[in-house]
Amino acid sequence: MKFERPHALTDAQFHYCPGCSHGIVHRLVAEAIDELGVEGRTAGVASVGCSVFAYNYFNCDMIQSPHGRAQAVATGIKRVHPENIVFTYQGDGDLAAIGTAETVHAATRGENITVIFINNAIYGMTGGQMAPTTLPGQITQTTPYGRSVKDAGHPIRVCEMLSTLDGVALAQRVSVDSVKNVKQAKNAIRKAFEYQIEGRGYTIVEVLSTCPTNWGLSIQDSLEWLRNNMMPYYPLGVYKDTGGKEAVK
């Protein structure tokens, strides 16, 4: 068996740091697009953050959105081309801080889009500041003494929050820290796209991700840190799945 680049990825070289999860997740998204044969009718929305250059990496039509607004932009595209597949690719700062309103409302509208949500508990592109998902006590550039819950509040558990909304068809948290988890992540992403094709409504796959550069850890240690710290706070699992029910549209 030959290990090849998925067609839905361009041949541009990723700019991501060694050990960053973006490369794996990009590949999983591209594999799902290939397997479903939908590249020609897919639109991706790149958001602000490290993954903004996703428009260089995916072979489907791509648009770059303002910070936090990816799901509003995706809504506009989807309303014009309801038959097309529309996905956003967003980090935790983009989705759960500046874009919280756009996220919650796209979800509650049941907007028939797929959201790939990279949760690495930090702002990567700007150099490692506190994110809405930064863990209590976690040291970042703007929480130099560790995130104080008293001053900075609590992290947001996005899948748990969104699973309360009626418009959500799938909310699942996965990780790409091991072969087993990568496979599970792939299945979740593919399922999200399938649900969109079936018109079931809003789908979100949250991927617990590493940022060795801004965490100040080696690649190996960052995987351990994710397992020991992020997974207990952000348990992997399916938070909502309307799979057994009738399609909503």
Partner: protein, 353 residues
């Protein structure tokens, strides 16, 4: 010949957009533009279009970015405080070379200001609609009929130049009713958008709609090319209406609601033997520089009348360059100037000759 119907400015604005082929409207309630959204919510489902009430003006303008980038004629409308929220999206739309139509039914500011008519968003519309180097075409109707005509032009111009176009209305024009002719037989030509995010169907290279250019030489080159386009627009698209300016010694310059008032004042001045005239601006950007320059032949003074503390007057000062007297008269905060007040200003200027 289509018959005349009575329409409110805001409803006319919405209906004209539908006639121009706009099928995607993203709105958010705010006085005094809410009738635009109300009309769209009623009409869009009837014409196979989409009315979507967004969670905020910020979301609405970004939905316009998405829908327009996807290849469709799309618009949003708001009033002054809401337009401030849209400024981020306007900058991205301009930076991504995406057409869009945005209506601002102006009310008084700053802050929550008031809900009465105003023209205090002139600087925002023509100078600083958002961050960075960019321009929007800005069209200023002064009657309900002209709202209809300019909305059609706005969509056409947006497509032609791939840029945002603002209809700068105000609470007075939005709320007033006037008889209008809606010509439904008029053919609309919506050009193809080969650059759109519509799915490449394995027939072309993937399209990218983007405003990010991380290499400074690339971004500078893009901006310079865009400004060449703006220069072309300045040459081709300046529009205004002149009234009794041929021999005018006092040229009143105004747009929108204040131009209607100024016209009555010019009539009254003429009755009193004063050689007054009016340049009514239709495009605010590009500014009709040429009309001002040509009127300098007879004009001893220009009088700018605005519903603001004085914004558009700066453009006249820049064009005239100190060679003629440039005066300003304005009411603001939702107050509307009267013809008598404008006439008094004209007479004051005349007295100084």
């Amino acid at each position: 010949m289509p018959e005349k119907v009575l329409m409110k400015g805001n409803e006319a604005l919405a209906e004209a957009a539908i006639m121009a082929g706009c099928r995607y409207f993203f709105g958010y309630p705010i006085t005094p533009q809410t009738e635009v959204a109300m009309h769209m919510s009623k009409r869009m489902p009837k014409v196979g279009g989409v009315y979507l009430q967004a969670e905020s003006e910020v979301a609405a303008i970004n939905m316009v970015l998405g829908a327009s980038a996807a290849g469709a004629r799309a618009m949003t409308s708001s009033s002054s405080p809401g337009i401030s929220l849209k400024s981020e999206g306007l900058s991205y739309i301009a930076g991504s070379d995406v057409p869009a139509v945005i209506a601002n039914v102006q009310r008084a500011g700053p802050g929550l200001g008031g809900i009465q008519p105003s023209q205090a968003d002139y600087f925002q519309a023509t100078r600083a609609a958002g961050h960075g180097d960019f321009k929007m075409l800005v069209l200023a109707p002064s009657t309900v009929q002209e709202i209809i005509d300019l909305v059609a032009d706005a969509f056409a111009l947006g497509d032609e130049y791939r840029m945002p176009v603002m209809i700068l209305s105000d609470g007075l024009l939005g709320q007033m009713m006037e008889p209008v002719v809606i010509d439904e037989t008029k053919k609309i030509n919506i050009p193809e958008r080969p650059w759109a995010i519509s799915g490449h169907e394995n027939k072309r290279k993937h399209n990218v709609v983007n405003s990010l250019y991380i290499e400074p030489p690339d971004l500078e080159a893009i901006l310079k090319a865009r400004y060449e386009k703006y220069e072309l627009i300045k040459k081709k698209e300046q529009r205004c209406e002149e009234y009794m300016t041929d021999d005018a010694e006092i040229v009143v310059v105004a747009y929108g609601a204040s131009a209607r008032i100024s016209r009555s004042a010019v009539d009254a001045a003429r009755k009193d033997g004063i050689k007054a005239g009016l340049i009514r601006l239709i495009t605010l950007w590009p500014y009709p520089d040429d009309a001002i320059i040509s009127r300098m032949a007879t004009a001893k003074a220009f009088l700018c009348v605005e519903m603001s503390m004085g914004q558009m007057v700066d453009d006249v000062r820049l064009i005239v360059g100190g060679k003629r007297d440039v005066r300003f008269f304005g009411r603001t905060g939702g107050m509307i100037p009267t013809p008598a007040e404008v006439l008094r200003e004209i007479k004051n200027i005349k007295g100084g000759f």
